[in-house]
């Protein structure tokens, strides 16, 4: 009798544990699950990048420690086949398992209901499903390690025929798994996107007009809309590629190519079709990977400047403009591809113009800080770092948007410099800032600010040391396992060595973050509801918020950026505070 009781209690406890921490429908738990899995993949993707840097600095040299563990058969050296796997999987993991899930999945999930004053997402079960759909994707990538080739090796862009013909790339099964992984990750994002749009449109608290939403929510909404429109195209293209790989359907194969050593392709396919479909998704994806960070940075800058966000409406409009124009610029990835040369000119014009809303945002961020009372906390420093790095990434984008200049720098390290300034310099710094900023809300304890600043300084210095010199490698092609085989590139090795040292130091710096993160979860100082004295709704509830989020019905009276209001004694005025005599309109 007693035993049975104990057993059923245990079973209940286990079930409760499973439903509240593992298979939870609570958006906060799902957000934190996304956060943790993305951070783990960030570490894996980062290590792959270190191996890439090792090869570029000292090609065909045995790697210490790791080399003997991983490539004992090859004398601890990276093989050229494996080098292709390294950069392919680095990009795939960083884009599909880190940046997109951490921005939309982790912060989107965690912040949207809290910031709009809802008790949860519109479709909690769909939300849970969207997280658990990432796991088959993770499984596919892990499975790749056990098939020949140890991973996909045709670049994260997977251009056919290389990605389709087993005869031409030694990683057939891995390439199938790569397609499956992206399919699962894509479907997961699509479920998330539908949920976010519905939640933001339908479940805002009383008084929360669209133009009272924090920039974070606006940018997540626009991101979700972009995902909802772009992902079906990627999904279709991936299915077509899978059919090409498995059934030799030849959607992307021209006539006369010998496929899989046996059948000559019967033709009727078009190689460039994949590139159009892929970039139709992947260019908007570039904005999917930065817009949420822009939104979060806007919120952090206003909060730590103790000043209203400068030009809230122009900011919203420019996010919308970026999203709209983001769908008509994909051709700038294909200037050199053999696409219609006239078309390149129109893509050039649209690409030039998309620089405009981004520029407006930069000016508005500086305008936000102008005249403020800046508190240079860790999240603030990361946000300023975001702006500073985004300027560089944005400007090199303008350089590349010129098709004539692109003739020289296309598919060289200049492109690698640009994309890392935007994705690492901007997005990842924004993510770090956001983690420091919302950590107290997520875990009820705050991270150590001084250690955070050390983390910032070294990350900032070494990231520039790693990526800025890449701008000078405008004639070193990407994806070369050994560029120094060519006379004209031999002298570039010392600079590559310098970049590799910086990359290693940057990776080592992240250990500071990891220690700070885990130490603070358990031992950080406890915080009250609103440690940063911020305005938006998530700071009015407990830290961490209970199930159902709010212990009162939030009613919104104003926008989220009323800092240092002249009629108010304090330098902040929460969105739920009772109306003042002279209350601002927004």
């Amino acid at each position: 009798m007693d035993d049975a009781n104990v057993n059923s209690n245990d079973a209940n406890r286990l079930a409760r544990f499973l439903t509240s921490y593992i298979f939870s429908t609570d958006h906060k738990v799902i957000g934190i699950q996304f956060l943790f899995s993305s951070l783990i993949w960030l570490a894996i993707g980062g290590l792959l990048a270190m191996a890439v840097r090792w090869q570029l600095a000292w090609p065909w040299t045995a790697m210490p420690v790791f080399g003997d563990l991983l490539f004992a058969d090859d004398g601890g050296k990276i093989t050229p086949e494996f080098y292709n796997v390294l950069f392919t999987m680095h990009a795939t993991i960083m884009i599909f398992f880190v940046v997109i899930p951490i921005l939309s999945g982790a912060f989107g999930n965690y912040l949207i209901p809290l910031m709009i004053g809802a008790e949860d997402m519109a479709f909690p079960k769909l939300n849970m499903l969207s997280y658990w759909f990432m796991w088959p994707a993770f499984a596919c990538v892990v499975l790749m390690v056990f098939v020949p080739g140890y991973g996909a090796g045709s670049g994260w862009t997977a251009y056919p025929p290389l990605s389709v013909l087993v005869a031409h790339s030694p990683t057939g099964t891995a390439q199938n798994l790569w397609v499956l992984a992206l399919l699962f990750a894509g479907v997961s994002s699509m479920m998330g996107a539908i949920n976010y749009i519905t939640t933001i449109v339908q479940m805002r608290a009383p008084g929360m007009d669209m133009f009272r939403l924090p920039m974070t929510v606006w940018s997540l909404l626009i991101t979700a809309i972009m995902q909802a429109f772009a992902l079906p195209v990627l999904t279709a293209a991936l299915l077509m590629q899978l059919c090409d790989q498995v059934f030799l359907t030849g959607f992307f194969l021209p006539e006369g190519i010998t496929a899989n050593n046996a059948l000559a392709s019967s033709g009727g396919g078009e190689v460039l079709l994949w590139q159009h479909l892929f970039w139709f998704y992947s260019h908007p994806a570039v904005y999917i990977m930065i817009l949420p960070a822009m939104g979060m940075v806007s919120d952090m800058l206003a909060c730590f400047s103790r000043k209203p966000l400068f030009g809230y409406r122009p900011m919203v409009y420019s996010v919308c403009a970026i999203a709209g124009m983001g769908f008509i610029v994909w051709g700038h990835h294909m200037f050199i591809s053999g696409m219609n040369k006239m078309l390149a000119v129109s893509f050039m014009v649209s690409t030039m113009l998309i620089a405009l809303p981004s520029g407006i945002k930069v000016f508005n961020w500086i305008g936000t800080m102008w005249g403020g009372r800046l508190h240079l906390t860790t999240p603030m420093l990361f946000s300023i770092g975001f702006v500073s790095m985004f300027v560089i990434g944005g400007l090199s984008g303008v350089v590349m948007s010129s098709p004539a200049v692109d003739i020289l720098i296309h598919d060289t390290y200049y492109i690698v410099a640009h994309l890392h300034y935007v994705l690492f310099g901007a997005s990842v710094l924004g993510v770090f800032g956001a983690i420091y900023f919302w950590f107290p809300k997520m875990f009820g304890r705050s991270m150590n600010d001084s250690v955070g600043k050390i983390h910032f300084v070294f990350t900032f210095i070494f990231l520039n040391g790693t990526f800025f010199p890449m701008h000078f490698l405008g004639r070193m092609p990407r994806r070369y396992a050994d560029p120094y085989l060519h006379d004209s590139l031999r002298e570039l090795q010392p600079l590559n060595e310098f970049m590799t040292y910086c990359a290693f130091l940057m990776a080592a710096t992240q250990l500071i973050f990891i220690c700070n993160f885990f130490w603070s979860i358990f031992f950080g100082p406890k915080v009250d509801r609103n440690p940063w004295k911020s305005n938006s709704l998530e700071w009015t509830t407990a830290s961490p918020p209970p199930h159902g989020n709010f212990d009162f019905q939030p009613i919104v009276h104003r926008g989220p950026y009323e800092y240092s209001h002249p009629d108010c004694e304090e330098d902040f005025l929460p969105q739920i505070a009772e109306p003042l005599r002279r209350d601002p309109q927004t």
């Binding site: 021209p254 966000l309 500086i366 009372r373 500073s388 303008v398 598919d411 800025f468 004209s488 600079l495």
Partner: protein, 345 residues
């Protein structure tokens, strides 16, 4: 331990100031090839069209550097000036927007960007759209026919020169691997094709890059201004050996070029080619002049339709050649000969 001492107050502005300053300084150093960036200088341009590209490259970069300096200095100054520790009693300003300013900083960059867009169209057209023309015997302008057909494959370059008939893709083509020789000061047209996956033909000194797409015939052109010998690189991931698609471009005076082509012709034995080209049965029957083993095709009295058919046949023949190339030892021997020849000083 709190890192908010007086010394650190200056640290953050300096850190953020140093971004635009170091970026500009190192960029200038790299453009001029100053130590330690000697190797980073743009390679000297060796084609006439490259000048417009360089002009744009430096022009847009200069503009970008000015904007970077402007915004970077503004960020650094804001951090220094508005730090709350500088004046603890000051309250933050309270304003939401400034429509005039917004309009100004929308319209000015828009103007610059649109102007830039129109300004650079010519360079693109010159490099990628306006293929050099020649006047044929009847006096009409026609696109200049290719001097060389470039066939890219995993992981090497084949260069097919037109034989006596003056057109590529006929039986008397002269074939050489990984060495492209062209005459100086002339419009050179290349016909680019791939045997397997996407490759990309890149010569930095010529500012010439074009993806080579299987199933498509594309043309690229350049006009080398002086004799030189430079690298040809592949800039589209094409498999494990992507990095080792090594070839050289040699620009020589016309006389030397003719001599070289003649030598290639002498050296060239169609029989040998035929031997290694018939692994799977006979080569397709050609309408006139016989197969490649019996010498060149005379095309002076062929109809257009016949020439087209001939080309199609020949294409099939070349494909079978490509399929067998990896199995034929002579082909590899030939590769090695060219490689060793090149490496001798």
């Amino acid at each position: 331990m709190r890192l908010q001492s007086k010394h650190l107050k200056r640290f953050w502005p300096i850190l953020f100031y140093s971004v635009p300053v170091l970026a500009t300084v190192t960029f200038l150093m790299a453009s001029w090839g100053v130590w330690p960036f000697e190797a980073c200088e743009l390679p000297e341009s060796l084609s006439s069209a490259a000048k417009t590209i360089d002009h744009l490259f430096y022009g847009i970069h200069t503009l970008s550097m000015l904007i970077l300096l402007g915004t970077g200095v503004a960020i650094g100054w804001v951090i220094w000036k508005f730090d709350h520790r500088r004046d603890p009693n000051r309250k933050a300003a309270y304003f939401h927007h400034n429509t005039k300013l917004e309009v100004l900083w929308t319209l000015i960059p828009a103007g610059i960007l649109v102007a830039l867009a129109f300004y650079q169209m010519n360079s693109w057209a010159e490099n990628k759209m306006n293929r050099p023309m020649i006047t044929d015997v009847s006096g009409t302008e026609i696109p200049k026919p290719p001097l060389v057909m470039v066939k890219a494959r995993q992981f090497g370059w084949e260069f097919h020169y037109a034989g006596d008939d003056g057109i590529t893709e006929t039986a008397d083509d002269l074939y050489i691997e990984n060495l492209l020789v062209v005459p100086v000061g002339e419009d050179i047209v290349l016909q680019l094709e791939s045997r397997d996956v996407i490759h990309s033909f890149f010569v930095a000194e010529l500012r010439l890059k074009q993806d080579i797409v299987p199933g498509k015939t594309q043309f690229a052109w350049f006009n080398p201004i002086r004799p030189c010998e430079v690298d040809i690189l592949c800039t589209e991931l094409c498999g494990w050996g992507h990095y080792k698609m090594k070839a050289r471009l040699k620009v020589v005076p016309r006389g030397e070029f003719d001599k070289w082509l003649n030598e290639l012709k002498q050296d060239y034995q169609p029989q040998e080619l035929a031997c290694r080209a018939i692994p799977v049965g006979e080569p397709p029957a050609l309408p006139r002049g016989g197969g490649p083993s019996t010498g060149s095709v005379t095309n002076d009295h062929l109809s257009v339709a016949e020439v087209a058919r001939l080309w199609t046949h020949h294409e099939t023949f070349l494909q079978s050649l490509a399929r067998s190339a990896s199995k034929v030892p002579q082909a590899q021997k030939r590769d090695r000969e060219f490689t060793s020849e090149r490496q001798q000083p």
